[in-house]
């Protein structure tokens, strides 16, 4: 039973991460492979502030979000001019740099040993200690994140984002400030990802740099694609399907050294199959008819 609740928390956390990436990849068409870096920033901010400084989780969280947001804003501002492959490569470089900082700045991050025994969040004398309580916390954060993603994506604001995705020049020509939209959406996306990372740190209570690699970024991308890019609910469905199905492998007698590669092979293969045969994902993007002016 506890295990089931653990899986639910994990799905909620990946739902947040996927929805956050969906805002930039699915809605705006900015293909970034640095989401795990922002997740890592959130996780390490919470990990360091809770264990070293003894701060409360709910104070540490905004700090992590602020760091992630500022970094993302700076990155987006610097890389605005880049298109297509070049943007991907730049975000790649960023991902590698953050990973290597987490790995090598040993005095701050603990290096390859990571940070152990991260305490569970606490608020108003109420500790989210048990798995059920923690699951409720993650679900609450999932709801808030989804609401934000939905407000941003399925609003006139989101329509502009989609316009930028489809034709940047056209969006600019009707007077939309494309650069500002891109910076804002990238910042929001990174901040949400850092929330996912912080909750992840709280759930596993142990983080190391090897979690926040390019593989993790690609995994989150796979969730976006399979769930449906440009659909907030698709992100949750994608996370739920792709995390719960492989977890069932545990009930068969498969050793972990075999089970975890098989799980990953499943992700990769599904990603290829979906892109080929159902590029819109499980829940396709819904385009509501706008007001014709």
């Amino acid at each position: 039973m506890n295990y089931l609740i653990y899986v639910i928390s994990l799905i909620a956390i990946y739902g947040i991460l996927t929805a956050s990436l969906n805002l930039s990849v699915g809605y705006t068409g900015i293909l970034s492979v640095a989401q795990a870096a922002f997740m890592g920033i959130g996780a390490y901010a919470v990990g360091i502030l809770l264990t070293e400084w003894g701060l409360n989780f709910f104070y540490a969280l905004p700090v992590g979000m602020a760091i992630a947001g500022l970094t993302a804003g700076g990155l987006a501002w610097a890389t605005l001019r880049l298109k297509g492959e070049y943007y991907v490569i730049a975000s790649f470089g960023f991902q590698v740099i953050i990973y290597s900082i987490l790995l090598n700045w040993i005095s701050l991050t603990g290096g390859p040993f990571g940070i152990r025994q991260i305490p569970r969040p606490e608020a108003f004398g109420f500790t989210f200690l048990g798995p059920t309580r923690y699951a409720i916390l993650t679900l609450a954060f999932l709801a808030i994140s989804l609401w934000i993603a939905w407000r941003v994506g399925e609003s006139p604001y989101g329509k502009v984002l989609r316009a930028i995705r489809e034709d940047e020049a056209a969006a600019a020509s009707i007077g939309k400030n494309v650069s500002r939209y891109k910076i804002v959406i990238f910042t929001v996306s990174a901040m949400l990802a850092s929330v996912g990372g912080a909750l992840y740190a709280g759930l596993i209570t142990y983080i190391d740099p090897f979690t926040f690699t390019i593989h993790e970024s690609i995994f989150i991308l796979a969730l976006v694609i399979i769930g449906g890019s440009g659909n907030v609910y698709g992100s949750v469905v994608g996370a739920a399907v792709l995390i719960s199905i492989p977890e069932m492998l545990r009930f068969f007698d498969v050793p972990t050294t075999v089970a975890s590669p098989i799980r990953e092979i499943l992700y990769g293969a599904l990603m290829i199959i979906f892109l080929r045969f159902r590029p819109k994902g499980l829940l396709p993007e819904r385009i509501t008819r706008g007001v014709v002016r």
Partner: protein
């Protein structure tokens, strides 16, 4: 003393750099004509290494035969990647984003197949002791393998440049690079040219991994790093310029090794990618890429 150390680091840098140069050329051979960010290049690199290990250590083939076998298998893998993954997507009218994402998917699958077959332990291939024994000149040392690496990469670069300039297939590849539609109209079999470009890039990357295996050995994690180095070399050199990619690769190797002098070596990759980000932001054309605008579609 410091003077000798500097020269030694410079030599090490040239050796590493010539392998980086090979990586840069191999990636350019695929990216320039096809415009596909072939992330599975990391897998081809890794598989070529593991094939070499399997042939030489697993099945006991003689070393030259194993190397040839690994290089050819890598070429085949590149062709298969184009045939199975990219070509169907292109026919569907998919864009660069879908191709890249599929490439990531393929990479994940292949990476984990490696973990299933060969596990994650480091692997090495035994080679004749002569190749590893250092030749001392004064206080400097280098091994015969180092010399072979530098010469091979020089020959490979010359070969690719001559191939691109003076053969029919090479000219066709450049035509596809400049304008795929125009090339098709003039009767160039674009699809086949793409296969050639994948084959060429993949055998070159197999040559690069051969030196990695013989010198340092194999681990499942080295693939991504190879692709990132290849990308950096390609961009810093200027996309489409093979000489530029080679020069940039060489400089990257030298810079990394001279950097060890002052900066702890674990920050090596941070420095490499900071250089990349710097170049992308300030001089996206690289050294020799005057035609960059065409790639920013």
């Amino acid at each position: 003393m410091a003077y000798w150390l500097f020269l030694q680091l410079l030599i090490n840098g040239i050796v590493v750099g010539s392998i980086y140069a090979l990586l840069g050329i191999s990636f350019t051979a695929i990216f320039a004509p096809t415009k596909i960010f072939h992330f599975m290049h990391a897998s081809v690199y890794l598989y070529a290494g593991y094939f070499l290990y399997q042939f030489a250590m697993g099945w006991g083939w003689p070393l030259p035969v194993s190397i040839l076998g690994a290089v050819l298998s890598a070429g085949l893998m590149g062709v298969l990647a184009e045939r199975v993954i990219y070509s169907p997507l292109r026919k569907m009218g998919a864009g660069m984003m879908e191709m890249l994402l599929s490439s990531f998917g393929g990479y994940i699958v292949l990476q984990n197949v490696i973990l299933l077959i060969w596990k994650s332990d480091p692997r090495t291939v035994k080679i004749p002791e002569v190749l590893h024994s250092g030749i001392p000149i004064g206080l400097l040392t280098f091994t015969p393998l180092d010399i072979i690496a530098v010469i091979t990469s020089g020959v490979a670069l010359a070969g690719v440049v001559i191939f691109m300039r003076h053969t029919k297939v090479g000219k066709a590849m450049r035509a596809v690079e400049n304008d795929p539609t125009g090339a098709t109209i003039t009767g160039i079999p674009t699809e086949r040219v793409r296969l050639v470009s994948f084959f060429l890039g993949s055998i070159l990357v197999a040559v690069a991994v051969t030196f990695q295996v013989l010198d340092k050995g194999l681990e499942p994690t080295i693939g991504v790093n190879a692709v990132l180095v290849a990308t950096v070399a390609m961009i810093v050199g200027g996309v489409g310029s093979y000489g530029g990619a080679a020069l940039a690769g060489l400089m990257l190797g030298v810079a990394e090794n001279l950097g060890i002098w002052q900066i702890p070596s674990e920050w090596k990759s941070t420095i490499t990618f900071s250089v990349l980000v710097f170049f992308i932001l300030l001089r996206p054309r690289g050294f020799f890429g005057h035609r960059m605008t065409r790639y920013q579609e």
